[in-house]
């Protein structure tokens, strides 16, 4: 049930965003054309921002995990399946 609710919520966002933007869509009046360059490069910069942030968070998490859970870390603890003789 929870999954269905979340799925519907995501779909609602997917539909609502373009619908909201529709109100700001470029008109067909002569001289009021959409500037394709702005729209396309804007998308590019947004996607690059997302890509670099996600990239740094993911790689930062991996680096931290490798550093924190190394055997030689002062707070390292053996897991049960590794035995107790540390």
């Amino acid at each position: 049930m929870k999954f269905v609710f979340e799925f519907l919520l995501i779909m609602a966002v997917l539909v609502a965003l373009p619908a909201a933007d529709f109100a700001f869509a470029a008109g067909d009046e002569p001289g009021e054309y959409l500037d394709r360059r702005v729209v396309i490069w804007n998308l590019f910069y947004k996607m690059m921002t997302v890509a670099f942030i996600v990239g740094s968070v993911v790689s930062g998490t991996i680096i931290w995990q490798v550093w924190r859970f190394r055997e030689s870390h002062p707070k390292a603890k053996p897991t049960s399946y590794e035995g107790t003789d540390w």
Binding site: L14, L17, V50
Partner: protein
């Protein structure tokens, strides 16, 4: 597993789903916007062939290797090819569309400044692909 909380995983999953939804919605919206051709756009038939571009205006006039358009007007390119795959590109206006034999691909633009811009082929199409170029002349409106 006792004493183990997995809420960070669920937050991670939610963030990933939210990001993907947002990225998808943005890309979808951009595509919808730029694929919307203005109704008063003038049609120019762009023909790619080894190794030059031909442009045919609505009134039947043809140009080879150069294209004259007027500032402030919208143009819809119908891009075709007579031989192999080409790609019609006006870099300065972010116009890029493949020219494929047997297909009519469309792309539009509306120049907003007087000037000269490069037209080039962006799909390797043979020996002289590198020189399959043209010039776009954006001029003041005649009327």
């Amino acid at each position: 597993m006792s004493g183990h909380s997995n809420w960070p995983e669920w937050i991670y999953v939610a963030v990933v789903i939210a990001l993907m939804a947002w990225v998808g919605a943005e890309a979808w919206e951009t595509e919808r916007l730029i694929e919307h051709v203005p109704e008063d756009a003038k049609i120019i038939i762009v023909t790619g062939q080894q190794w030059f571009w031909t442009f045919e205006h609505e009134d039947g006039t043809k140009e080879i290797g150069e294209l004259h358009v007027e500032v402030g007007k919208a143009y819809k390119f119908e891009v075709i090819s007579k031989d192999v795959n080409h790609s019609f590109n006006i870099h300065d206006y972010v116009v890029l569309m493949d020219a494929i034999p047997g297909r009519v691909n469309t792309v539009w633009f509306a120049p907003d400044k007087v000037g000269e811009h490069d037209i080039q082929c962006r799909e390797y199409c043979g020996l002289i692909h590198y020189n399959m170029r043209g010039t776009l002349y954006v001029t003041e409106p005649s009327s």
